[in-house]
């Protein structure tokens, strides 16, 4: 049997993968787009709330409408779609990759010159935050509750507690309230909300849903179905304070306690990972430290706006289409401790492309702050912010044109308070 050959294979048909496939196809590449579900669009299918596309289209679209802007560009003569397909193995060869996948047609291998990982992210579950108590039904991630409500049309709860104030949790607080459930409150172990302030305002305050910070769920109760949770105050280290326990009767606990890039495939091919983003280390061309493997969207780092996911997908698709099998040399972008992370972490000196788009998050909530970038001690970029918050990702463009950058150059990012 002949093995089908592609220039670019994109794994994942959500917003990142759709943008990557379309941009690679536009560059003339023969593209294979692999999606494990029956419909394209990824998580946007169930994100029926609006606010998507403000940056990209200047419009307030719902998730399905945003996805449609990309899906409607298909079919495309350069893109082969493989739906209901699951990648089981990636094997590196000297000139590309052999990808093994399973679909209704059975198991098959294809060959691709380059590969774009666009597998998105996963929600942190109750097991990952160590909730004590019975293994009863009624503990959902916010995304699962969203799937029940918006896709299956079934209510997952009548009266619930939401743990964690990530954006999906806030969105679901509003959604469940509109559908007639009672949301007792949103409990957040950190001293501030994890989601965007606009979501705290329009999803909680509009519906008088209380947000309790520095409090967490310490136990769950229920035989068969959840019947109550215990909440406690936490100290500055997020450790529950004995004596502060309170029991709240409810039939569901909904978790919005963080998202983690999904990178099992990336790890299987030995991509160096960044412990801060939990995604692969990449250069300014979205290429990971393994030649020919690109990564974009929430698989690279968790974004708060889909508009930036699409931008990242487009950049990765374009770069994957133009990929030349060249050995690269790198200089590291060093971010000081005031950053939660920066992306990319490296710049390739072999394929310089200016300006370099850098995404970052501050580690803590800050007031007036100045960002500076220095190369071997000389300042090359600065920008002032009136405030920085970890939930709000920032995007900057830095032009390194004309600069002598060597692999041992010290390129440093720093944040400092200003008066």
């Amino acid at each position: 049997m002949t093995v089908l050959r592609y220039n670019v294979t994109v794994i994942g048909g959500g917003p990142a993968g759709l943008a990557a496939a379309l941009s690679a196809a536009k560059e003339g590449a023969e593209v294979l787009l692999i999606e494990r579900e029956a419909r394209l669009g990824g998580i946007l299918k169930q994100c029926i709330h609006d606010g998507f596309g403000l940056v990209r289209f200047g419009e307030k679209l719902s998730g399905p409408e945003y996805a449609h802007r990309f899906i409607e560009q298909l079919p495309n003569p350069n893109i082969t779609l493989s739906m209901l397909t699951f990648v089981t193995k990636i094997e590196k060869q000297s000139d590309g990759f052999v990808i093994t996948m399973v679909s209704k047609d059975g198991i098959r291998d294809i060959f691709t010159k380059s590969l774009v990982l666009a597998s998105g992210c996963r929600e942190r579950t109750s097991r990952q935050i160590g909730i004590h108590g019975r293994h009863c039904a009624g503990i959902f991630t916010a995304g699962t509750a969203q799937y029940y409500t918006n896709i299956l049309g079934k209510m997952p709860t009548k009266r619930c507690v939401i743990l964690g104030s990530g954006d999906i949790g806030l969105i679901m607080a509003r959604r469940l309230t509109l559908e007639g459930a009672e949301v007792v409150g949103v409990y957040e172990a950190k001293p501030t909300a994890s989601g965007l302030m606009r979501n705290v305002y329009q999803c909680l305050e509009d519906f008088n849903i209380p947000l309790y910070t520095s409090k967490t769920v310490t136990r769950v109760f229920g035989e068969g179905r959840l019947c109550a949770v215990e909440v406690s105050d936490v100290d500055a280290c997020m450790t529950p304070i004995p004596g502060t326990e309170k029991i709240i009767e409810c039939d569901a606990l909904i978790l919005s306690v963080g998202l983690i890039p999904e990178n099992e495939l990336a790890e299987s091919i030995g991509l160096p990972m960044d412990y801060r983003t939990k995604g692969p280390v990449t250069d300014q061309n979205s290429m990971t430290m393994v030649n020919g493997v690109f990564c974009c969207g929430n698989a690279l780092h968790v974004n708060d706006l889909v508009d930036y996911v699409s931008e990242s997908g487009e950049a990765a698709g374009r770069a994957a289409a133009g990929y030349l099998q060249k050995k690269r040399s790198f200089a590291e972008l060093k971010a000081d401790d005031s950053f939660l992370y920066i992306v990319p972490q490296m710049i390739s000196l072999t394929e310089r492309k200016e300006p370099v788009t850098v995404y970052f998050r501050s580690k803590t909530e800050r007031g007036k702050t100045r960002l500076t970038v220095t190369v071997d001690g000389s300042e090359i970029y600065k920008k002032s912010y009136s405030q920085l918050r970890p939930p709000e990702m920032e995007r900057i463009e830095i032009d390194f044109k004309g600069m002598q950058i060597r692999p041992d150059s010290r390129i440093c990012f720093a944040l400092a308070e200003v008066d």
Partner: protein, 135 residues
């Protein structure tokens, strides 16, 4: 003093409002749209609404919809009740009207998904897709 978080764009500016000499003064907004939002928010707050309506189609029990403009915030519970009575029996698609001039607000409720369109690739029974009976 009242603090308003602007919901117009992802910047989410925190706008402080105060009364000075019988007039509202605003600070913290970064654009005119923010100023406009804060003004409206104090007098007649407006929101867009997104929700779902039921359908007759097997495996596709609900269709996502939204208002194609903003409605007074206090109308939202009534609109939700009104939409609870809607049952979609046509294979309508993105942008098509589900309920025109809902409760006289001057705003239409429109479909936001092509879920029901036969052209949309879908295979009921696929992994994690509607059509899988879970009970």
């Amino acid at each position: 003093m009242k603090e308003i978080t602007c919901i117009v764009c992802p910047n989410g500016c925190r706008i402080l409002t105060a009364m000075q000499n019988g007039q509202y003064v605003f600070s913290g907004h970064r654009c005119g749209r923010g100023l406009e939002f804060a003004r409206t928010e104090l007098t007649a707050p407006m929101r867009s609404l997104t929700t779902t309506v039921r359908t007759v189609f097997h495996g596709l029990p609900v269709l996502p919809v939204r208002t194609n403009g903003e409605v007074p915030k206090e109308m939202i519970p009534e609109i939700i009740r009104e939409l609870a009575g809607v049952l979609i029996s046509e294979r309508i698609g993105i942008g098509e009207t589900v309920a025109a001039d809902i409760l006289g607000s001057g705003v239409d409720v429109i479909a936001t998904s092509n879920l029901l369109k036969s052209g949309e690739p879908k295979e009921p029974g696929g992994p994690g897709e509607p059509g899988v009976e879970r009970e």
